[in-house]
């Protein structure tokens, strides 16, 4: 490390760091500080500030709507994370197993990494539209009445499916790298011991891929909480009856439908703490696994 440090001008290094530090300070740290400050004020439209202490936080603690939104987000994240990991892991395993056409299979399933969530949402809206959807007929033929504009649980499932679909690509990218790192001798030994097919995936590959899988669980959780906004906004607008009103959409509405910047800022602070906890857990566990030979 020391031999890499070939320059020592403080002014030069300061100038090189200046743009990143300045933008971080003005557009990342300062707004965060502002959010913390505003969360202690009764602030509508960002004006008419009146210091109210912890009132906004008390509001959150006693608001049953906010509690359901929090619970809903946790449930949504759980469904999305489990769905994405399961589908991606199985897809990766199948690609890992075939001898021919791997490159083509791989690009055919990792492309949703590039998919804009807004596009994914509108396409989903179209294919399972209650009256127009091309898949609506076939699904109803199975005995399900497609009515997710009015049916909360159905709306939840539609948003979750769209969110899972978009995230498969990113997961397979990391999983295929991890699975290809499993020593070949291990695969051969497993085969000789008669551990084949899915059992090899579950009892040989998954344990070795644990660090990668854990990394993906955290990334997918953050994704489900924050990056699925476009799906909710375009598919359901949080409805019907708040059935898909996850925290990020709830925050957006608090800020830009109701213009309660004080309460919205308190909600931002809660989200900030949530990201912090998730990142901390990831950091700690990744640290533990770093000797595991990822």
């Amino acid at each position: 490390m020391s031999t890499r440090e070939i320059f020592d001008s403080r002014i030069e290094s300061g100038l090189l760091l200046l743009p990143t530090l300045l933008v971080s300070l003005v557009f990342l740290y300062y707004p965060t500080a502002l959010a913390i400050r505003t969360s202690f004020f009764d602030s509508s439209f960002g004006q008419g500030d009146e210091f109210v202490g912890l009132k906004n936080y008390v509001t959150l603690l006693t608001d049953s709507g906010y509690h359901s939104s929090l619970l809903l987000s946790v449930l949504f994240a759980a469904v999305v994370v489990v769905g994405v990991i399961a589908v991606s892991l199985y897809l990766t395993f199948l690609i890992h197993e075939v001898d021919t056409g791997q490159g083509l299979y791989l690009i055919s399933v990792i492309w949703p990494y590039a998919l804009p969530p807004a596009v994914g949402a509108l396409v989903f809206l179209f294919i399972v539209h209650p009256t127009l959807g091309v898949l609506t007929g076939p699904i109803e033929a199975l005995g399900v009445d497609v009515d997710w504009f009015n049916n909360g649980p159905q709306a939840f499932v539609v948003v979750a499916l769209a969110a899972i679909w978009k995230q498969i690509g990113y997961n397979v990218i990391f999983m295929i790298a991890a699975m290809n790192n499993v020593p070949n001798t291990l695969t051969e030994t497993a085969e000789l011991d008669g551990v084949t097919g899915l059992r090899r995936l579950v009892s040989v590959y998954v344990p070795i891929m644990t660090p990668t899988l854990f990394f993906l669980v955290i990334i997918n959780t953050i994704y489900a909480f924050f990056s699925t906004f476009a799906f909710v906004d375009l598919l359901t607008s949080g409805g019907p009856s708040n059935a898909t009103n996850i925290l990020i959409f709830d925050l957006y509405q608090e800020g830009f439908s109701f213009f309660n910047f004080g309460v919205a800022s308190a909600k931002s602070v809660v989200l900030f703490l949530l990201v912090g906890v998730l990142m901390f857990v990831q950091f700690r566990v990744t640290d533990e696994y770093s000797y595991y030979g990822a």
Binding site: A114, A177, V275
Partner: protein, 294 residues
């Protein structure tokens, strides 16, 4: 793709070493069949979008209607010209390019200072940059909105680009890559009396081509797919980006004039830039992802 090459190599080795064991994990036809079905499921929604974008009205209510129409040219022309989608695409492109170039330059500077300068408090500065990972747009869009109003940047390209220029992820990936450049090369440069600017231009950048392309693709996909922030801060159609502009193609929904073929034409157009970049540059992209996880 690097994983595939490694995989192929290992398979070849295995073949040479023990061809009897090799036959046991020849893919069964069932594996290909399952892959085909899953790939079909992952591609199906977008295939429907592309097909619908070529039809007259875009009303597709059964699987039998999924034959391409002959209105492709007319639909794309109408979306791009009559509905100003060309304008939105251009705005998205400008936003994404400014973010990519800005982030790249600023992050190369920062990572160079962190790796190649012997100055005090360097680790602290790196931590200060890394800590911004905890401050994604969703936790600070409320105060950022207030800040943009104060700066008078609302509804401008500055608002949707400058806050993204500082990037902990990019600095981190570049730092990891710089640390992997052999010290002997760095020391040789020092012995030759190479100054910082020439070191950057003639040593560092040429040795980082792959990773620079990789992070550029990651940044472009990220920037192009932004939805929440432009939705909040851009309120004129002339300055709107494609992700948010897609909704405007829906036309008069209440009046029953919803034109799905136009929405799907817009969706296809919006998907193309990130998708093409990802496919063309998949090799450096996947290599860069493998750095990110470390």
């Amino acid at each position: 793709m690097v994983e595939l090459l490694q995989y192929a190599k290992r398979r070849a080795d295995a073949l040479r070493g023990n061809s009897a064991a090799e036959t046991t994990y020849d893919a069964k036809p069932g594996t290909h069949l399952q892959l085909w079905l899953l790939v079909f499921a992952v591609v199906f929604p977008i295939a429907v979008a592309v097909i619908v974008s070529t039809k007259q009205t875009g009303v597709v209510t059964s699987l039998g209607d999924l034959l391409p129409g002959s209105y492709a040219v007319e639909n794309y022309r109408e979306a791009l010209v009559d509905y100003q989608f060309g304008r939105f695409m251009w705005n998205s492109l400008a936003m994404s390019l400014v973010i990519v170039v800005g982030k790249l330059v600023v992050s190369v500077f920062a990572a160079m200072a962190i790796v190649y300068y012997r100055v005090p408090y360097k680790d602290l500065v790196f931590l200060f940059i890394l800590f911004t990972l905890l401050l994604p747009v969703p936790v600070r869009f409320i105060p950022l909105f207030q800040l943009m109003n104060d700066l008078g940047w609302s509804n401008t390209i500055l608002a949707i680009t400058v806050p993204y220029i500082a990037s902990a992820t990019t600095v981190f990936i570049l730092r990891q890559h710089f640390l992997s450049i052999p010290t002997s090369i760095v020391e040789t440069a020092k012995l030759d009396g190479v100054g910082p600017l020439r070191f950057m231009l003639f040593v560092l950048l040429p040795m980082s081509k792959g990773v620079l392309v990789g992070v550029s693709i990651i940044m472009f996909v990220y920037a192009w797919n932004q939805y929440l922030w432009p939705l909040i801060i851009i309120d004129s159609e002339a300055n709107q980006v494609a992700q948010v502009g897609l909704q405007l193609l829906q036309g008069d929904v209440q009046g029953g004039q919803l034109s799905w073929s136009l929405v799907m034409a817009g969706s296809t157009l919006t998907l193309l830039p990130p998708l093409l970049l990802m496919i063309v540059f998949r090799k450096p992209l996947l290599e860069t992802f493998s750095i990110q996880q470390k």
